[in-house]
């Protein structure tokens, strides 16, 4: 319904404006309903401007900046309707260390309402997990799952878990 969509849109939009500034430490972002026609027909445009930079098309943002902008939008939607569980596959691949730290930091807030299953190669992301599963292919082409005993370190700067297969 038009009413419901507009309400949801406005909530996500507010969240996105705040979340972007928090994640980027400044700058500005917005969601804009595209022109023309019925509110139930138009699309949603994304604008984003990292701190200090000028507003340009998001295609000109770097790989890492685009990922963080998308993460901000993702979490803005989760805030409106927290999915009971989320599966994130290698979101952190294009991110440098400080962006991974910011991503992990923001993620913590959602752990109250949602379970997260995160596929990653990154040590810091691994360090914040409560449970760790290793997938192996000892036999070519056949996957097995190994549960990894894990002492979660709460000191994020020293994210080396004790791993015992």
């Amino acid at each position: 319904t038009r009413q419901m969509f507009l309400e949801t849109f406005e909530k996500v939009r507010d969240n996105f404006r705040q979340m972007f500034v928090e994640i980027f430490g400044g700058g500005k972002a917005d969601l804009i309903l595209t022109e023309g026609g019925d509110v139930l027909e138009c699309g949603i445009d994304i604008v984003a401007r990292p701190p200090g930079k000028q507003l340009q098309s998001i295609s000109l943002l770097s790989g890492g900046e685009q990922t963080m902008t998308a993460v901000a939008l993702l979490f803005s939607i989760y805030q409106v309707k927290p999915s009971p569980f989320c599966v994130l596959d290698e979101l952190d691949a294009p991110l440098d260390e400080s962006n991974i730290n910011r991503f992990i930091h923001v993620l913590q807030r959602f752990l109250v309402h949602s379970q997260f299953v995160i596929i990653t190669h990154n040590k810091r992301t691994i360090g914040m997990a409560d449970v760790l599963y290793g997938v192996t292919m000892q036999e070519h082409g056949v996957s097995k799952i190994v549960s990894v005993k894990f002492h979660k370190t709460h000191d994020a700067s020293n994210g080396n878990p004790l791993l015992e297969p």
């Binding site: 996500v12 599966v87 379970q115 596929i119 082409g141 996957s143 799952i145």
Partner: protein, 171 residues
Amino acid sequence: MYLKNLTVLGFKSFAEKTSLNFQPGVTAIVGPNGCGKSNVSDAIRWVLGEQSAKALRGGEMADIIFNGTDSRKPLSMAEVSLTIGGIDGEHLTAAGVEIAYNEVTLTRRVFRDGSSEYFLNKTPCRLRDIQQLFMGTGVGRSSYSIMAQGNITQILSSKPEDRRVVFEEAA
């Protein structure tokens, strides 16, 4: 609502019955390239009712059945079960599940001819019953709750009209 267990057999590279238990908080899945991590994400997506083989990186649905290796024959069926706890009474009723159960196991099977079977707590059901279970919870075909590898920036490059579907899901 929370995940308790995922069990896969014959799904993609999971030739043998494999079980994953979930805890509250963050479950990290790690391993070398090609070992099957994204296949776990595909399995979850699939048992929740994904109808597009392309979304699972295949050409047709039968592609997700274990295809054999140099030393193993292909299997004729893939089966994935997802056990979920804490579902409220309203959703259980809508899906046709007795409220007595406090956990529900969804099971999906597919055969080489591409036909799927669905079960709720071992009772055959329709895809629609599984969809009813998640109605309005934020878990759904067009939600962003399952983010496939490399797809995060698609949120930014997708057409403005496609994006609104996600907002409608969240409404």
